[in-house]
């Protein structure tokens, strides 16, 4: 609602004040997250240098001698993110293209909710799926794969973010004006040519935003990777090995009884702060894409 309706004088009703206060809660939440992460992380960096944290190649805060190099956790997270993207991006984009360009409205009405239902499955269920179904399947083909392995984690996270990719991509494709398609058909193009040379390029910024948002979800994903990929911080390129992501480390510490104020307690906030910065960066990047897209549209 803009202009005229906005200029109406809302009475000085207590309701107005209550609503205003409610709207402030979200700002307080952000402030709370930033403050909590900052305070504990600063405490952490009084004990450990930033250089050791960011460049150390070993992560072992709970053993003596302690090591605080976050790289193994970052590498584990990156492996899950890349692996899940390899699965979710092609499947999600192709599903979206089918729904938006090929499917009849009736078919779309049936299929779309099914894909959306996938999005309602909790992540701990995907973890169970990875541990009890995907890993045994992988082991049948590659006997050397461990009970906990990065590949299984990446596969289930890929399935998990698939609905995000496909529904956001479909929104982007559907936003391309019909006239652009008609132009393509008018010069005798086939549906394949219209889709790949006109519709997808026109929707590219929206599609990119969908990819970035989905990968950012994979980075922040917790329970599926904790269950399927394991709790062994390790710098490895082998997807058959157990690894640990940043989120899984936070869970591991939380499951134990760690007193506040100790260095181990502070590590989960330091890792959380890094996670916050990474996902925030990706979300801002995604919004850039969308903003550019809507400007072009006008």
């Amino acid at each position: 609602m803009i202009d005229a309706l906005k200029r109406i004088r809302w009475s000085e009703s207590p309701l107005t004040v209550v609503c205003f206060l409610a709207a402030l809660v979200s700002i307080l939440t952000t402030a709370g997250i930033v403050l909590v992460l900052a305070v504990e992380t600063l405490g952490f960096f009084r004990e450990v240098s930033l250089a050791e944290f960011l460049t150390g190649r070993e992560w072992a805060p709970m053993f003596k001698p302690q090591h605080f190099g976050v790289l193994p956790l970052v590498a584990g997270t990156a492996m899950i993110a890349v692996g899940s993207a390899i699965i979710a991006i092609p499947l999600g984009l192709l599903s979206a293209i089918y729904l938006s360009e090929y499917a009849s409205p009736g078919v779309r009405r049936v299929l779309k909710p099914i894909i959306e239902l996938l999005a309602g499955v909790p992540t701990v269920v995907y973890g169970y799926f990875g541990l009890t179904m995907v890993t045994p399947l992988l082991q049948r083909f590659f006997p050397e794969v461990g009970v906990f392995n990065a590949a299984s984690g990446a596969i289930v996270v890929g399935i998990m973010i698939l609905p995000t990719v496909s529904s956001l991509c479909e929104d982007a494709l559907a936003a391309v004006p019909k006239e652009m398609r008609y132009g393509g058909y008018g010069i005798g193009s086939t549906k394949f040519e219209v889709t790949t040379r006109i519709v997808v390029p026109a929707a590219l910024s929206g599609i990119s935003a969908a990819f970035v948002l989905a990968i950012s979800r994979a980075v922040g994903e917790t329970m599926a990777v904790t269950l399927a990929a394991g709790m062994t911080p390790k710098l490895t390129m082998n997807p058959g090995e157990s690894i640990q992501t940043m989120t899984a480390y936070i869970v591991q510490v939380s499951l134990g009884d760690t007193p506040a104020g100790t260095i181990v307690y502070q590590t989960i906030f330091a890792v959380g702060a890094l996670l916050f910065l990474i996902t925030l960066g990706m979300n801002i990047l995604a919004r850039r894409f969308v903003v550019r897209y809507s400007l072009k549209d006008q």
Partner: protein
């Protein structure tokens, strides 16, 4: 056009049509594969867990012996947490949405709040757990209680409730508001009697989807230190608790297959509730869209 050229054009057209068909097949194959994955998931879980599903499983506390363990404490914990979360998050979320969409002028503060809400929606759930741990559990000294869990989950789903409620309010035609105001009704009465009722299906959809997300969340509750072994049902907001997803995580992370069966049976209970809720939300939304 010469005969030779025509055959070349025809041949090329045929191959272009073939590519078109093939691409369609590839696309629908991707979609079917995605749907099959959902069914594989549900089928696999159902097969593992259906044997354990009976009344004593629902009505027993956890146990070291897998066949005697049940989800009574977890189910009660989830109901407590979700009930409180609804009581906290829905009024705050609705009030925020009404303020941002109806009351406030489009000034810098409102734009800032909206940007902030959008960013919050992208924050990984486990970070809300860290917030809850530091603020609710330690600083406010609520301990690892139902209340601390509900407050944490409320903050987690607040952005989603605000965004969906704002969309629902935005979809109400402005003529409705103008008509009401033209009759001399106050802005607040218009909002309460016209705008909100019209936006109700959309708002409800958003609330159901948000609440079902809260119901499946595990990570933030583990981070605030929810217990994994609980042999009692909470009697108030200040009791300790466990929740269904935590119980599932606990059972799934044990090596014995018999506990995996318990996890699968608990998943069936959780999925039945969640998918049911999602289905209602999707139907509600489709109906509202078709009316619009």
């Amino acid at each position: 056009m010469s005969q030779a050229n025509e055959t070349i054009v025809r041949r090329r057209l045929r191959s272009r049509k073939r590519v078109e068909k093939l691409f369609g097949v590839v696309c629908i194959a991707a979609l079917i594969l995605s749907a099959l994955l959902l069914f594989a998931l549900v089928w696999g879980v159902a097969k593992d867990g259906v044997g354990r599903l009976n009344w004593s499983f629902i009505d027993s506390f956890p146990s070291r012996i897998a066949s005697r363990a049940g989800i009574k404490a977890a189910l009660a914990g989830t109901l407590w947490i979700i009930g409180l979360t609804i009581l906290i998050a829905v009024p705050i979320g609705l009030a925020s949405a009404v303020y941002l969409e109806e009351v406030a002028p489009k000034n810098r503060l409102v734009r800032f709040i909206e940007l902030n809400v959008a960013n919050l929606a992208g924050v990984p759930s486990i970070l809300y757990g860290l917030l809850g741990l530091a603020v609710f559990v330690r600083w406010m000294d609520l301990g690892r209680t139902v209340l601390a869990g509900a407050l944490t989950l409320s903050l987690l789903i607040l952005p989603m409730i605000i965004i969906t409620a704002q969309e629902a309010l935005r979809a109400v035609p402005r003529a409705y508001r103008e008509g009401s105001l033209a009759l001399g009704t106050t802005p607040w009465r218009t909002t309460l009697k016209i705008t909100l009722p019209c936006a109700l299906p959309g708002i409800l959809t958003g609330v159901i989807l948000s609440v079902s997300r809260a119901m499946g969340e595990t990570a933030p509750l583990i981070t605030i230190g929810a217990l994994t072994y609980v042999a009692f049902t909470p009697t108030g907001p200040n009791d300790g608790f466990t929740a269904l997803p935590i119980q599932i995580f606990n059972w799934a992370s044990r090596p014995q297959a018999s506990f995996h069966e318990n996890a699968a049976a608990a998943i069936i209970v959780l999925l039945a509730v969640l998918l049911g809720m999602n289905l209602i939300a999707i139907v509600l939304r489709d109906r509202a869209r078709r009316k619009a």
